[in-house]
Protein backbone atom coordinates (compact mmCIF):
# COMPACT_ATOMS: atom_id res chain seq x y z
CA UNK A 1 0.00 0.00 0.00
CA UNK A 2 1.50 3.20 -1.18
CA UNK A 3 -0.55 5.72 0.79
CA UNK A 4 -2.47 5.96 4.03
CA UNK A 5 -6.19 5.57 3.33
CA UNK A 6 -7.08 9.19 4.08
CA UNK A 7 -4.73 10.31 1.30
CA UNK A 8 -6.04 7.95 -1.36
CA UNK A 9 -7.86 9.79 -4.13
CA UNK A 10 -10.37 8.28 -6.52
CA UNK A 11 -7.66 8.26 -9.17
CA UNK A 12 -5.52 5.98 -7.04
CA UNK A 13 -8.12 3.22 -7.03
CA UNK A 14 -7.79 0.35 -9.47
CA UNK A 15 -10.51 -0.38 -12.01
CA UNK A 16 -13.34 -2.10 -10.14
CA UNK A 17 -11.61 -1.31 -6.82
CA UNK A 18 -9.43 -4.34 -7.33
CA UNK A 19 -6.72 -4.74 -4.70
CA UNK A 20 -3.72 -6.07 -6.54
CA UNK A 21 -1.22 -6.30 -3.72
CA UNK A 22 -1.91 -9.79 -2.35
CA UNK A 23 -1.82 -9.98 1.43
CA UNK A 24 -1.07 -6.28 1.95
CA UNK A 25 -3.20 -6.39 5.12
CA UNK A 26 -0.10 -7.68 6.85
CA UNK A 27 0.96 -4.04 7.27
CA UNK A 28 -1.97 -3.61 9.61
CA UNK A 29 -1.03 -3.87 13.29
CA UNK A 30 -3.53 -5.81 15.37
CA UNK A 31 -1.10 -6.12 18.29
CA UNK A 32 -2.38 -2.94 19.88
CA UNK A 33 -5.75 -4.58 20.54
CA UNK A 34 -4.03 -6.62 23.21
CA UNK A 35 -4.70 -6.24 26.90
CA UNK A 36 -2.73 -9.35 27.86
CA UNK A 37 0.49 -10.54 26.40
CA UNK A 38 1.80 -14.10 26.11
CA UNK A 39 4.98 -14.93 27.98
CA UNK A 40 6.82 -17.98 26.73
CA UNK A 41 9.05 -20.20 28.85
CA UNK A 42 11.36 -22.07 26.49
CA UNK A 43 12.42 -24.54 29.16
CA UNK A 44 8.89 -25.92 29.47
CA UNK A 45 8.28 -26.13 25.73
CA UNK A 46 8.15 -29.60 24.19
CA UNK A 47 8.06 -28.20 20.64
CA UNK A 48 4.68 -29.77 19.89
CA UNK A 49 3.46 -26.81 17.81
CA UNK A 50 -0.02 -26.88 19.36
CA UNK A 51 0.08 -23.11 19.95
CA UNK A 52 1.10 -22.57 16.35
CA UNK A 53 -1.71 -24.58 14.85
CA UNK A 54 -4.40 -22.99 17.03
CA UNK A 55 -3.45 -19.33 16.61
CA UNK A 56 -6.27 -17.49 14.76
CA UNK A 57 -3.98 -14.57 14.03
CA UNK A 58 -0.93 -16.34 12.58
CA UNK A 59 1.03 -14.64 15.34
CA UNK A 60 3.16 -17.64 16.28
CA UNK A 61 6.18 -18.68 14.31
CA UNK A 62 7.88 -22.06 14.66
CA UNK A 63 11.60 -21.48 14.67
CA UNK A 64 14.11 -23.74 13.03
CA UNK A 65 15.01 -25.40 16.34
CA UNK A 66 11.34 -26.19 17.02
CA UNK A 67 10.80 -23.53 19.63
CA UNK A 68 8.29 -20.80 18.94
CA UNK A 69 8.13 -17.06 18.87
CA UNK A 70 5.13 -14.77 19.27
CA UNK A 71 4.76 -11.97 16.78
CA UNK A 72 3.44 -9.18 18.96
CA UNK A 73 2.73 -7.00 15.93
CA UNK A 74 -0.27 -9.25 15.27
CA UNK A 75 -0.97 -11.05 18.57
CA UNK A 76 -4.36 -9.83 19.84
CA UNK A 77 -3.83 -11.49 23.19
CA UNK A 78 -6.68 -13.97 22.95
CA UNK A 79 -4.87 -16.44 25.18
CA UNK A 80 -5.67 -19.54 23.13
CA UNK A 81 -1.97 -20.51 23.00
CA UNK A 82 -1.65 -20.33 26.77
CA UNK A 83 -4.89 -22.21 27.29
CA UNK A 84 -4.01 -25.00 24.86
CA UNK A 85 -0.32 -25.42 25.67
CA UNK A 86 -0.03 -28.93 27.14
CA UNK A 87 2.91 -28.05 29.39
CA UNK A 88 2.03 -24.56 30.55
CA UNK A 89 4.95 -23.03 28.69
CA UNK A 90 2.87 -19.96 27.79
CA UNK A 91 1.22 -17.71 30.32
CA UNK A 92 -0.75 -14.54 29.80
CA UNK A 93 0.24 -11.44 31.74
CA UNK A 94 -1.39 -8.03 31.89
CA UNK A 95 -0.01 -5.79 29.16
CA UNK A 96 0.91 -2.94 31.53
CA UNK A 97 3.29 -5.14 33.53
Amino acid sequence: MAKPENEITWRDLEVGIVVNEPGNASVYCTGDWRSQRPVYATERCIKCGTCYIYCPDMAIKILRDGYIEHDLYYCKGCGICAQECPTGAITMVEEEE
Binding site: E5, W10, L13, V15, I17, N20
Partner: protein, 387 residues
Protein backbone atom coordinates in the same frame (compact mmCIF):
# COMPACT_ATOMS: atom_id res chain seq x y z
CA UNK B 1 -20.54 -9.93 -48.29
CA UNK B 2 -23.50 -10.43 -46.00
CA UNK B 3 -26.41 -12.74 -46.48
CA UNK B 4 -29.89 -11.55 -45.70
CA UNK B 5 -32.30 -14.08 -44.28
CA UNK B 6 -35.71 -14.06 -42.68
CA UNK B 7 -35.29 -15.00 -39.09
CA UNK B 8 -36.98 -14.65 -35.71
CA UNK B 9 -35.20 -11.85 -33.88
CA UNK B 10 -34.53 -14.07 -30.84
CA UNK B 11 -32.85 -16.62 -33.07
CA UNK B 12 -30.79 -13.91 -34.73
CA UNK B 13 -29.66 -12.70 -31.31
CA UNK B 14 -28.63 -16.22 -30.31
CA UNK B 15 -26.80 -16.72 -33.60
CA UNK B 16 -24.90 -13.51 -32.95
CA UNK B 17 -23.91 -14.73 -29.49
CA UNK B 18 -22.58 -17.84 -31.18
CA UNK B 19 -20.63 -15.80 -33.74
CA UNK B 20 -19.29 -13.68 -30.88
CA UNK B 21 -17.91 -16.94 -29.48
CA UNK B 22 -19.29 -16.44 -25.98
CA UNK B 23 -17.73 -18.68 -23.32
CA UNK B 24 -20.47 -18.65 -20.71
CA UNK B 25 -24.22 -18.34 -20.98
CA UNK B 26 -26.10 -18.38 -17.70
CA UNK B 27 -29.84 -17.93 -17.79
CA UNK B 28 -33.11 -18.79 -16.16
CA UNK B 29 -36.20 -19.11 -18.34
CA UNK B 30 -38.71 -16.28 -18.39
CA UNK B 31 -41.16 -15.24 -21.09
CA UNK B 32 -40.44 -13.59 -23.53
CA UNK B 33 -36.69 -14.17 -23.27
CA UNK B 34 -36.96 -17.95 -23.73
CA UNK B 35 -36.41 -18.31 -27.46
CA UNK B 36 -32.97 -16.74 -27.16
CA UNK B 37 -31.72 -19.11 -24.46
CA UNK B 38 -33.45 -22.13 -25.98
CA UNK B 39 -31.63 -21.56 -29.23
CA UNK B 40 -28.36 -20.99 -27.41
CA UNK B 41 -28.67 -24.26 -25.53
CA UNK B 42 -29.30 -26.00 -28.84
CA UNK B 43 -26.19 -24.42 -30.32
CA UNK B 44 -24.15 -25.54 -27.32
CA UNK B 45 -25.58 -29.06 -27.20
CA UNK B 46 -25.12 -29.49 -30.95
CA UNK B 47 -21.49 -28.47 -30.62
CA UNK B 48 -21.90 -25.39 -32.76
CA UNK B 49 -20.91 -23.07 -29.93
CA UNK B 50 -18.11 -24.08 -27.58
CA UNK B 51 -19.46 -22.59 -24.37
CA UNK B 52 -20.74 -23.59 -20.97
CA UNK B 53 -24.50 -23.17 -20.79
CA UNK B 54 -25.40 -22.92 -17.11
CA UNK B 55 -29.09 -23.51 -16.44
CA UNK B 56 -29.24 -21.78 -13.09
CA UNK B 57 -32.01 -22.01 -10.51
CA UNK B 58 -32.89 -18.29 -10.56
CA UNK B 59 -32.06 -15.03 -12.26
CA UNK B 60 -30.25 -13.98 -9.13
CA UNK B 61 -27.89 -16.87 -9.67
CA UNK B 62 -27.77 -16.18 -13.41
CA UNK B 63 -26.25 -12.77 -12.79
CA UNK B 64 -24.07 -14.17 -9.99
CA UNK B 65 -22.69 -16.87 -12.28
CA UNK B 66 -22.03 -14.14 -14.85
CA UNK B 67 -20.14 -12.17 -12.20
CA UNK B 68 -17.94 -15.17 -11.50
CA UNK B 69 -17.33 -16.09 -15.12
CA UNK B 70 -16.55 -12.53 -16.20
CA UNK B 71 -14.18 -12.22 -13.24
CA UNK B 72 -12.52 -15.43 -14.44
CA UNK B 73 -11.98 -13.77 -17.82
CA UNK B 74 -14.69 -15.50 -19.85
CA UNK B 75 -16.90 -13.79 -22.43
CA UNK B 76 -20.23 -13.80 -20.66
CA UNK B 77 -23.80 -13.54 -21.87
CA UNK B 78 -27.15 -13.60 -20.15
CA UNK B 79 -30.67 -12.76 -21.00
CA UNK B 80 -33.76 -12.03 -18.95
CA UNK B 81 -37.02 -10.09 -18.65
CA UNK B 82 -39.21 -8.30 -16.17
CA UNK B 83 -39.39 -10.10 -12.80
CA UNK B 84 -36.14 -11.83 -13.63
CA UNK B 85 -34.34 -8.51 -13.89
CA UNK B 86 -35.86 -7.35 -10.63
CA UNK B 87 -34.77 -10.54 -8.90
CA UNK B 88 -31.21 -10.21 -10.17
CA UNK B 89 -31.02 -6.45 -9.78
CA UNK B 90 -28.91 -6.63 -6.62
CA UNK B 91 -26.17 -8.27 -8.65
CA UNK B 92 -26.83 -6.11 -11.72
CA UNK B 93 -25.64 -3.17 -9.64
CA UNK B 94 -22.74 -5.13 -8.16
CA UNK B 95 -21.22 -6.24 -11.47
CA UNK B 96 -21.23 -2.65 -12.72
CA UNK B 97 -19.33 -1.47 -9.65
CA UNK B 98 -16.99 -4.43 -9.92
CA UNK B 99 -16.44 -3.42 -13.55
CA UNK B 100 -17.17 -6.90 -14.86
CA UNK B 101 -17.91 -6.71 -18.58
CA UNK B 102 -20.71 -8.84 -19.98
CA UNK B 103 -23.66 -8.59 -22.33
CA UNK B 104 -27.27 -8.89 -21.26
CA UNK B 105 -30.30 -8.85 -23.48
CA UNK B 106 -33.37 -7.66 -21.66
CA UNK B 107 -36.53 -8.74 -23.47
CA UNK B 108 -38.59 -5.89 -22.07
CA UNK B 109 -41.75 -6.85 -20.24
CA UNK B 110 -43.93 -5.18 -17.65
CA UNK B 111 -43.66 -5.77 -13.93
CA UNK B 112 -46.18 -7.40 -11.62
CA UNK B 113 -48.78 -6.70 -10.42
CA UNK B 114 -51.04 -7.60 -12.15
CA UNK B 115 -48.98 -10.25 -13.81
CA UNK B 116 -48.40 -9.51 -17.45
CA UNK B 117 -46.03 -11.23 -19.80
CA UNK B 118 -46.36 -8.44 -22.35
CA UNK B 119 -44.18 -5.59 -23.30
CA UNK B 120 -43.39 -2.24 -21.76
CA UNK B 121 -40.29 -0.63 -20.27
CA UNK B 122 -40.99 -0.74 -16.55
CA UNK B 123 -38.38 -3.48 -16.05
CA UNK B 124 -35.39 -1.59 -17.41
CA UNK B 125 -36.42 1.65 -15.74
CA UNK B 126 -36.05 -0.05 -12.37
CA UNK B 127 -32.32 -0.41 -13.01
CA UNK B 128 -31.87 2.87 -14.83
CA UNK B 129 -29.15 3.96 -12.42
CA UNK B 130 -27.34 0.64 -12.11
CA UNK B 131 -24.20 1.65 -13.97
CA UNK B 132 -24.64 -0.44 -17.14
CA UNK B 133 -24.47 0.96 -20.63
CA UNK B 134 -28.03 0.66 -21.89
CA UNK B 135 -29.36 0.78 -25.43
CA UNK B 136 -32.84 0.40 -26.91
CA UNK B 137 -33.19 -1.57 -30.11
CA UNK B 138 -35.68 -0.75 -32.80
CA UNK B 139 -35.51 -3.77 -35.09
CA UNK B 140 -33.98 -7.19 -35.55
CA UNK B 141 -30.98 -5.94 -37.45
CA UNK B 142 -30.05 -3.63 -34.61
CA UNK B 143 -30.40 -6.51 -32.18
CA UNK B 144 -28.15 -8.79 -34.20
CA UNK B 145 -25.53 -6.08 -34.73
CA UNK B 146 -25.51 -4.90 -31.14
CA UNK B 147 -24.54 -8.29 -29.79
CA UNK B 148 -21.12 -7.67 -31.36
CA UNK B 149 -21.12 -3.98 -30.55
CA UNK B 150 -22.18 -4.72 -26.98
CA UNK B 151 -19.40 -7.21 -26.30
CA UNK B 152 -16.90 -4.94 -27.99
CA UNK B 153 -17.86 -1.89 -25.93
CA UNK B 154 -18.21 -3.74 -22.64
CA UNK B 155 -14.81 -5.42 -22.95
CA UNK B 156 -13.01 -2.36 -24.35
CA UNK B 157 -10.13 -1.57 -21.97
CA UNK B 158 -11.27 2.06 -22.08
CA UNK B 159 -14.73 1.09 -20.91
CA UNK B 160 -14.93 -2.21 -18.90
CA UNK B 161 -18.59 -1.75 -18.09
CA UNK B 162 -21.42 -4.25 -18.66
CA UNK B 163 -23.75 -3.65 -21.61
CA UNK B 164 -27.51 -4.07 -21.66
CA UNK B 165 -29.61 -4.33 -24.82
CA UNK B 166 -33.29 -3.60 -24.46
CA UNK B 167 -35.45 -5.36 -26.97
CA UNK B 168 -39.20 -5.19 -26.74
CA UNK B 169 -40.71 -8.48 -25.65
CA UNK B 170 -42.83 -10.18 -28.35
CA UNK B 171 -42.99 -6.97 -30.41
CA UNK B 172 -39.37 -7.59 -31.31
CA UNK B 173 -38.26 -10.89 -29.77
CA UNK B 174 -40.88 -13.00 -31.51
CA UNK B 175 -41.18 -11.37 -34.92
CA UNK B 176 -39.54 -12.61 -38.07
CA UNK B 177 -37.49 -9.99 -39.85
CA UNK B 178 -34.96 -9.95 -42.65
CA UNK B 179 -31.56 -9.93 -40.99
CA UNK B 180 -28.28 -9.24 -42.72
CA UNK B 181 -25.91 -11.78 -41.23
CA UNK B 182 -22.19 -11.14 -41.03
CA UNK B 183 -19.45 -13.41 -42.26
CA UNK B 184 -17.54 -14.91 -39.33
CA UNK B 185 -14.39 -13.32 -40.63
CA UNK B 186 -15.97 -9.85 -40.33
CA UNK B 187 -17.11 -10.60 -36.79
CA UNK B 188 -13.63 -11.78 -35.83
CA UNK B 189 -12.09 -8.64 -37.24
CA UNK B 190 -14.50 -6.45 -35.32
CA UNK B 191 -14.56 -8.31 -32.02
CA UNK B 192 -11.20 -9.43 -30.65
CA UNK B 193 -11.05 -12.08 -27.89
CA UNK B 194 -11.79 -10.80 -24.39
CA UNK B 195 -8.59 -9.68 -22.66
CA UNK B 196 -9.57 -8.79 -19.11
CA UNK B 197 -7.57 -6.17 -17.25
CA UNK B 198 -7.80 -8.29 -14.11
CA UNK B 199 -8.93 -11.85 -13.84
CA UNK B 200 -9.22 -14.32 -10.99
CA UNK B 201 -6.18 -16.50 -11.52
CA UNK B 202 -3.41 -17.80 -9.23
CA UNK B 203 -0.77 -16.11 -11.38
CA UNK B 204 -1.92 -12.70 -10.17
CA UNK B 205 -4.02 -13.13 -7.05
CA UNK B 206 -6.19 -10.04 -6.92
CA UNK B 207 -8.92 -9.22 -4.44
CA UNK B 208 -12.18 -8.17 -6.08
CA UNK B 209 -15.14 -6.67 -4.31
CA UNK B 210 -13.35 -5.49 -1.19
CA UNK B 211 -15.31 -3.86 1.58
CA UNK B 212 -15.48 -0.06 1.36
CA UNK B 213 -15.18 1.85 4.61
CA UNK B 214 -16.63 5.40 4.66
CA UNK B 215 -13.20 6.92 4.11
CA UNK B 216 -12.97 5.29 0.67
CA UNK B 217 -16.52 4.55 -0.44
CA UNK B 218 -17.07 7.98 -1.96
CA UNK B 219 -13.78 7.72 -3.86
CA UNK B 220 -14.87 4.32 -5.19
CA UNK B 221 -18.15 5.78 -6.45
CA UNK B 222 -16.42 8.80 -7.96
CA UNK B 223 -14.08 6.50 -9.85
CA UNK B 224 -17.06 4.56 -11.18
CA UNK B 225 -18.89 7.73 -12.18
CA UNK B 226 -15.83 9.14 -13.94
CA UNK B 227 -15.31 5.90 -15.83
CA UNK B 228 -18.94 5.89 -16.93
CA UNK B 229 -18.81 9.49 -18.06
CA UNK B 230 -15.88 8.67 -20.32
CA UNK B 231 -17.68 5.91 -22.21
CA UNK B 232 -19.47 7.99 -24.84
CA UNK B 233 -16.59 8.45 -27.32
CA UNK B 234 -15.74 4.76 -27.10
CA UNK B 235 -19.32 3.75 -27.80
CA UNK B 236 -19.38 6.09 -30.77
CA UNK B 237 -16.06 4.72 -32.00
CA UNK B 238 -17.37 1.16 -31.73
CA UNK B 239 -20.42 2.17 -33.79
CA UNK B 240 -18.28 3.97 -36.33
CA UNK B 241 -15.98 1.00 -36.82
CA UNK B 242 -18.91 -1.33 -37.08
CA UNK B 243 -20.35 0.89 -39.77
CA UNK B 244 -17.07 1.02 -41.64
CA UNK B 245 -16.97 -2.79 -41.73
CA UNK B 246 -20.61 -3.47 -42.46
CA UNK B 247 -22.10 -0.31 -43.91
CA UNK B 248 -24.55 -0.15 -41.00
CA UNK B 249 -23.93 2.97 -38.95
CA UNK B 250 -25.51 3.67 -35.57
CA UNK B 251 -25.72 6.77 -33.41
CA UNK B 252 -26.88 7.68 -29.91
CA UNK B 253 -30.12 8.98 -31.36
CA UNK B 254 -31.78 8.65 -34.74
CA UNK B 255 -33.93 11.31 -36.30
CA UNK B 256 -36.69 10.95 -38.84
CA UNK B 257 -38.08 13.90 -40.76
CA UNK B 258 -36.96 16.40 -38.11
CA UNK B 259 -36.13 18.94 -40.80
CA UNK B 260 -38.12 22.06 -39.95
CA UNK B 261 -40.13 20.06 -37.46
CA UNK B 262 -41.90 22.27 -34.95
CA UNK B 263 -43.18 19.22 -33.18
CA UNK B 264 -40.94 16.31 -32.26
CA UNK B 265 -42.05 12.95 -30.97
CA UNK B 266 -39.53 11.04 -28.87
CA UNK B 267 -39.63 7.26 -28.59
CA UNK B 268 -37.44 4.38 -27.52
CA UNK B 269 -37.36 0.85 -28.86
CA UNK B 270 -39.56 -0.84 -31.41
CA UNK B 271 -42.29 1.81 -31.30
CA UNK B 272 -40.06 3.98 -33.46
CA UNK B 273 -41.18 2.17 -36.59
CA UNK B 274 -44.87 2.63 -35.76
CA UNK B 275 -44.28 6.27 -34.88
CA UNK B 276 -42.55 6.92 -38.19
CA UNK B 277 -45.65 5.75 -40.04
CA UNK B 278 -47.66 8.19 -37.94
CA UNK B 279 -45.16 10.93 -38.83
CA UNK B 280 -45.63 10.19 -42.54
CA UNK B 281 -49.39 10.46 -42.12
CA UNK B 282 -49.06 13.82 -40.38
CA UNK B 283 -46.54 15.13 -42.88
CA UNK B 284 -49.07 14.31 -45.59
CA UNK B 285 -51.37 16.70 -43.76
CA UNK B 286 -48.58 19.34 -43.69
CA UNK B 287 -48.14 18.92 -39.95
CA UNK B 288 -44.45 19.77 -39.25
CA UNK B 289 -43.79 16.69 -37.11
CA UNK B 290 -40.54 14.76 -36.78
CA UNK B 291 -39.33 11.81 -34.76
CA UNK B 292 -36.36 11.35 -32.45
CA UNK B 293 -35.53 7.82 -31.41
CA UNK B 294 -33.29 7.45 -28.42
CA UNK B 295 -31.05 4.46 -28.89
CA UNK B 296 -28.53 5.19 -26.16
CA UNK B 297 -30.24 5.45 -22.80
CA UNK B 298 -27.14 5.27 -20.58
CA UNK B 299 -25.01 7.32 -20.95
CA UNK B 300 -27.83 9.66 -21.92
CA UNK B 301 -27.04 11.67 -25.07
CA UNK B 302 -27.90 15.11 -23.70
CA UNK B 303 -26.06 17.15 -26.34
CA UNK B 304 -27.32 15.09 -29.26
CA UNK B 305 -30.88 15.40 -28.02
CA UNK B 306 -30.64 19.17 -27.67
CA UNK B 307 -29.31 19.39 -31.19
CA UNK B 308 -32.06 17.17 -32.58
CA UNK B 309 -34.93 19.18 -31.11
CA UNK B 310 -33.45 22.63 -31.47
CA UNK B 311 -36.09 23.70 -34.02
CA UNK B 312 -38.99 22.30 -32.05
CA UNK B 313 -41.60 24.25 -30.13
CA UNK B 314 -43.33 21.15 -28.78
CA UNK B 315 -41.79 17.87 -27.78
CA UNK B 316 -44.06 14.89 -27.19
CA UNK B 317 -42.32 12.19 -25.19
CA UNK B 318 -43.62 8.64 -25.34
CA UNK B 319 -42.83 6.77 -22.16
CA UNK B 320 -43.55 3.12 -21.62
CA UNK B 321 -43.23 3.12 -17.86
CA UNK B 322 -44.56 5.21 -15.01
CA UNK B 323 -42.48 6.93 -12.38
CA UNK B 324 -45.09 7.08 -9.64
CA UNK B 325 -45.09 10.44 -7.92
CA UNK B 326 -42.37 11.59 -10.28
CA UNK B 327 -42.29 13.48 -13.56
CA UNK B 328 -44.65 11.10 -15.38
CA UNK B 329 -42.41 8.81 -17.35
CA UNK B 330 -38.68 8.39 -16.80
CA UNK B 331 -37.83 9.34 -20.38
CA UNK B 332 -39.74 12.63 -20.12
CA UNK B 333 -37.83 13.41 -16.95
CA UNK B 334 -34.56 12.95 -18.80
CA UNK B 335 -35.69 14.98 -21.79
CA UNK B 336 -36.73 17.87 -19.55
CA UNK B 337 -33.34 17.70 -17.80
CA UNK B 338 -31.61 17.85 -21.16
CA UNK B 339 -33.62 20.89 -22.25
CA UNK B 340 -33.62 22.82 -18.99
CA UNK B 341 -30.23 24.56 -19.44
CA UNK B 342 -31.39 26.12 -22.70
CA UNK B 343 -32.65 29.66 -22.63
CA UNK B 344 -35.50 28.94 -24.98
CA UNK B 345 -36.84 25.46 -24.75
CA UNK B 346 -39.80 23.64 -26.21
CA UNK B 347 -42.79 22.65 -24.16
CA UNK B 348 -42.71 18.97 -23.18
CA UNK B 349 -45.87 16.90 -23.20
CA UNK B 350 -45.64 13.35 -21.95
CA UNK B 351 -47.75 10.34 -22.79
CA UNK B 352 -47.41 6.99 -21.14
CA UNK B 353 -48.34 4.42 -23.72
CA UNK B 354 -48.14 0.77 -24.55
CA UNK B 355 -48.21 -0.54 -21.01
CA UNK B 356 -48.33 -4.31 -20.58
CA UNK B 357 -48.57 -5.01 -24.29
CA UNK B 358 -51.29 -2.46 -25.15
CA UNK B 359 -51.16 -1.90 -28.90
CA UNK B 360 -50.13 1.48 -30.21
CA UNK B 361 -51.09 2.25 -33.81
CA UNK B 362 -49.76 4.99 -36.13
CA UNK B 363 -53.11 6.78 -35.74
CA UNK B 364 -52.50 7.01 -32.00
CA UNK B 365 -49.47 9.18 -32.64
CA UNK B 366 -51.59 11.50 -34.76
CA UNK B 367 -54.13 11.77 -31.98
CA UNK B 368 -51.51 12.34 -29.28
CA UNK B 369 -49.92 15.13 -31.28
CA UNK B 370 -53.31 16.77 -31.71
CA UNK B 371 -53.97 16.57 -27.99
CA UNK B 372 -50.50 17.85 -27.11
CA UNK B 373 -50.98 20.82 -29.36
CA UNK B 374 -54.36 21.62 -27.90
CA UNK B 375 -53.52 21.17 -24.23
CA UNK B 376 -51.07 23.80 -22.97
CA UNK B 377 -48.56 23.35 -20.18
CA UNK B 378 -46.26 20.60 -19.00
CA UNK B 379 -48.16 17.48 -18.13
CA UNK B 380 -48.29 13.75 -18.46
CA UNK B 381 -51.13 11.42 -19.23
CA UNK B 382 -51.61 7.70 -19.46
CA UNK B 383 -52.89 7.43 -22.99
CA UNK B 384 -55.73 5.29 -24.28
CA UNK B 385 -57.13 4.36 -20.91
CA UNK B 386 -60.87 3.66 -20.58
CA UNK B 387 -62.47 6.20 -18.28
Amino acid sequence: MATRVGMEVSIAAAEAVKQANADIIAAYPITPQTHIVEHLSELVNDGELDAEFIPVESEHSAMSVCAGSSAAGARTFTCTSSQGLILMSEIVYAVASLRLPMLMILANRSLNSPLSIWNDHSDVMSVRDCGWIQVFMENGQEVYDHVFIGFRVAEDRNVIIPFMMNIDGFMLTHVIEPIGLLEQEVVDRYLPPFQPLYRLHPNNPVTMGAFGPPILFTEAKKAQDEAFNKTMPHIIKAWQEFGDLTGRYYHPIETYRTDEAKIVIITQGSLGETASIGIDMMREEKEPVGLVKIRLWRPFPFAELREAVKEAELVVVMDRAISYGGPGGPLAGEVRSALYPQESRPRVANFIIGLGGRDVAPEDFVQMVQQAKAQPGEWYEIYGVRE
